[in-house]
């Protein structure tokens, strides 16, 4: 038996997202790949949504749902426990993905996805509780030697006068923000507090990416320097404005302008 992590949520739709975050974290810790992590997230989302919408009929405000995650050598297990009326999702027939549009029923897809996305799904009713046990296999490759991620990095350039330019690429989400964090932290640890983050190739930034930038900005400020941003795509710029970070960071249209202004 592996170690069990536990989260309890109130049976409300707004709480499902916390459960998803929890499961994503646990699945990542179990070293499932991104695709498998996504599958776990979606299966849990669908299962909880069903329990809240149908099991509790949206009246679950005083009820709790327990989510347990456990990593075994060959599989990652998610157990969902609730006290709504007995309901075996596996006893219901699944919708047909080959059905044409006109004859498609709107419902039933949640359970379909749970069964398709997980490797094994079981249901038990014990002591007036529903237990839904979702299992995702852990490939042998990840249960043995762990891959070295430290080589994954973004381009870094050192300029005369001690400034450093870091150019992240692609999406800055919970999977890739740690790469940016490593790049920024390693410069800050070396005492390089004048950092330019040039972002024309960043297509997406999640809160994890914003968090990494803010914590680097704080550390740079403490060291008497700054983290200056440039080249934000309009969509990224908008996100910064929405969360008010355009007031925090100095943002320039492109790197050359940033360097000219700040050097």
């Amino acid at each position: 038996m592996g170690e069990v992590s536990r989260l309890v949520i109130v049976a409300r739709l707004e709480e499902v997202r916390h459960a998803c975050d929890f499961v994503v974290e646990e699945a990542e810790a179990a070293r499932l790949d991104k695709r498998a992590v996504y599958h776990c997230q979606m299966a849990v989302d669908e299962a909880l949504t069903n329990i809240i919408e149908h099991g509790y009929d949206y009246h679950g405000d005083n009820s709790e749902i327990e989510i347990l995650c456990e990593t075994e050598p060959t599989r990652f297990l998610i157990t969902i426990v609730d006290e709504s009326p007995a309901f075996d999702p596996l006893a219901h027939h699944s919708p047909d993905p080959t059905e044409p549009l006109d004859s498609r029923e709107p419902g039933g897809w949640g359970i379909y996805f749970i069964r398709k996305l997980m490797d094994d799904v079981r249901y038990q009713r014990i002591d007036n509780r529903n237990y839904l046990i979702l299992s995702k296999n852990r490939p042998a490759a990840i249960t043995g030697v762990q891959p070295d991620e430290s080589e994954e990095t973004f381009p870094v350039r050192f300029l005369d006068g001690g400034a450093v330019v870091i150019s992240p690429i692609g999406r800055l989400d919970s999977n890739t923000s740690p790469v940016l964090e490593r790049a920024l932290t390693s410069q800050l640890q070396k005492g390089h507090f004048r950092l330019f983050v040039d972002m024309p190739d960043v297509e997406y930034i999640a809160s994890s990416g914003l968090k990494v930038l803010v914590s680097a900005w704080r550390r740079a400020q403490d060291g008497g320097g700054n983290v200056v941003l440039s080249g934000l795509q309009p969509r990224i710029r908008e996100i910064f404005e929405m969360v008010g970070f355009d007031m925090l960071f100095e943002i320039f249209p492109d790197l050359d302008t940033a360097l000219a202004q700040k050097s």
Partner: protein, 112 residues
């Protein structure tokens, strides 16, 4: 920010750029945004999914519902650039054969 929808009115098409996460708490919001456009008499819709990091069956349900609605009015709801994860889910539900899916926004908009 959990979900954001940017709507652009184009010549023949209404473009919806969805950003973030579509799940049971906000799928209705997406459906309502699409419905509003259809109510106004526009039924050629493009949903740009390139920045949708996550979509549950609640989001798919709204998309299918609106697709049925616009098809009845001779229009269409076409998808642009879903991520690999979202594409996989569309395929699992057989929706890749029901929706026209284009690799880029430009191609999806140009298809009308």
């Amino acid at each position: 920010m959990v979900m954001e929808i940017n709507v652009s009115e184009m010549k023949r098409v209404q473009l919806f750029e969805v950003i973030g996460r579509v799940d049971s708490t906000n799928a209705g919001e997406l459906g309502a945004a699409l419905d509003k456009t259809v109510d106004e008499g526009r039924s050629n819709l493009v949903l740009d999914l390139s920045n949708v990091e996550y979509m549950s069956s609640a989001g798919l349900r709204e998309m299918v519902r609106v697709l049925k609605r616009v098809k009845r009015g001779g229009g269409d709801l076409r998808l642009a650039n879903p991520s690999d994860r979202v594409k996989e889910v569309l395929e699992l539900a057989g929706l890749d054969t029901i929706f026209e899916i284009y690799p880029t926004q430009v191609e999806a908009v140009g298809s009308f």
